[in-house]
Point group: C2
Amino acid sequence: MHFLKELILILIFTTMCGQICTRLNLPAVIGQLLSGIILGPAILGLVHPSNTITLFSEIGVTLLMFLAGLESDLDLLKKHFKLSFAVAGIGVILPVTFIGLACLAFKMKFLEALFIGIVFAATSVSISVMVLKEADKLNSQAGMAILGAAVVDDILAVITLSLFTSFSHEGGQSGLTNNLGLNFLIQIVYFVAIWLVFRYVAPILIKFAKKIEIDYAVVICSLILAFSLAWAAEIVGLSEVVGAFFGGLAIRQTDQFEEVHSSVSIIGYTFFIPVFLANIGLVMTFSSFFKDLSFIIILSILAFFSKFWAGKYTSKFFGFDNLEASMVGAGMVSRGEVALIVAQIGIGYHLFPKDIYSSLILIIIITTVISPFVLNYFIKKAN
Amino acid sequence: MHFLKELILILIFTTMCGQICTRLNLPAVIGQLLSGIILGPAILGLVHPSNTITLFSEIGVTLLMFLAGLESDLDLLKKHFKLSFAVAGIGVILPVTFIGLACLAFKMKFLEALFIGIVFAATSVSISVMVLKEADKLNSQAGMAILGAAVVDDILAVITLSLFTSFSHEGGQSGLTNNLGLNFLIQIVYFVAIWLVFRYVAPILIKFAKKIEIDYAVVICSLILAFSLAWAAEIVGLSEVVGAFFGGLAIRQTDQFEEVHSSVSIIGYTFFIPVFLANIGLVMTFSSFFKDLSFIIILSILAFFSKFWAGKYTSKFFGFDNLEASMVGAGMVSRGEVALIVAQIGIGYHLFPKDIYSSLILIIIITTVISPFVLNYFIKKAN
């Protein structure tokens, strides 16, 4: 098993780098992210991206968002729903505008510039979730605003991508069809199904699972539910993590959620989540670094501030104080695996010049690695 | 993620079939084994063997044997060492003789007949371990004899395979070289290393892990140790599960073994072990069933009794009573993934006629599925 060697290396490096960051009073997740860059082709070249690592990484982020759902206060989420909606909406408009204009200034074609804007429109909330969990802040006002905004953001990202692909006639790759109205309808059906899961399926499933005499039956049934919702989300064009998040929220309404939470934490944190974090850095190379230096620096700055300002000023408008608003802003900056996937779609469909692909990856990773530093800074300041 | 759908199906079917068997007063593992046959090409055709499922399955059996190590009483293992050695030795000689002669009677060439004998020489103890664990009998006299014999059996299997391949000039596929003496030397080095791990590495590692502030650091470090020993075992030509078993025995000597045991149980039983059990049945087809009916029936009977008698009468010779001796015999019958791997090696190297491959697989699966029934029968009778 070649994978065993890579798994051993990933577990050693994420643990060590995480521990070093903890000692430096930084979130462990930063070290775990950096360990991928160290292990990968960028520095040591000991572990290379592969389908197996990607699969483990996908399961990792699915479990992570399932856990986030299990820890989230539904009432608090509902309370901040309008804010979340506004943060997500403005958080899509600003990056598309800023990054798109910058790309035009770098002499790209209009559609290319627009698509690169869309790459940076979607937030990956998973890294922020880890920072918030480590600091015990997931169920704060800011935490719920970030999580809610991430869910809306994902829906907006799908709509934006469908709009773009139906407009540019490049064929749909997310969702079932290219028809925007139909896509929207399918997603409404999905959310009705989610409501049914909350109301009926999850409680009945857990009641049933408690009667099964197989070890850990409740945990297994919860995983079946989470994976099924993740899988269904992917079918309707949403991302798997949103489905898993809803699964977590649904299980939280049952009386077994503590057992599920502690068990899934063990499965996730000992096995799959380290692979997920390392995998983000694995795709990075420095090959384009000096060639496209100005492009990388300018886009990184714009990618950062477009999301940060969108989160911060929208939250302030909704009455958050300065620090809380900055936490929301910082929590939305990370692009993580979501942007990496959109960039991959783009390269597959020739939606932007091939030679800037590695620069784009680098910018995505820069925003992903910077985000926990900044979020951590505001959390520490708030305490 | 196509794999997500398959994982969901495997979790649903193993849980349901396991529960049905529990209700019928049978070990759950039987249902979980059968669920693979039901899901696979043999019946429903919903899940097909794949590299990903094989990988999950390998991790599953590695975790299972790590758990067996964590639960094993080292003193009891040592006490029954001579018996284990004898059971394993005779348990290699009888199947090779019986099956080999039968194959000659079926008009195969000498080397082909010998190789098919070797396919059935190796025991897979993992299924028996699950039955013993379910019945809380792992740390019984019979349980320790079975586990000890399985370790020796694995070493003998490697030696037999190396002997065969150096004799038949077909090139070595297990171990580093074709040189029997060198292979033996390398394995001695491995066992010296294992001794060092027991004596120094494991205690220091756990002491060190307790100081790490990352969540579940002790569990992660134990997994690193287990995977490293499994990986090293594969390098020296032993099977991974033996390495993982030694890892479990080593961690058991430390004061954190209970935390490690409960965490690894959750990881294994909710995720990887169900895939391992289902995977055994996934490779089965009935295509050759009626064509080679007499071959399949005769070899299944010989495969069963050669191991059963070897275990039973050797144990009786060492003073076990009739029921305990029968438990040892039944515990050694299962061929599981080990024989499947040897058969795969054989087909790769053209060591037997290609058209009997699917019959061989069927015989292996028959012995694997029968074994927990028989073992369970003797355990129930002994209570």
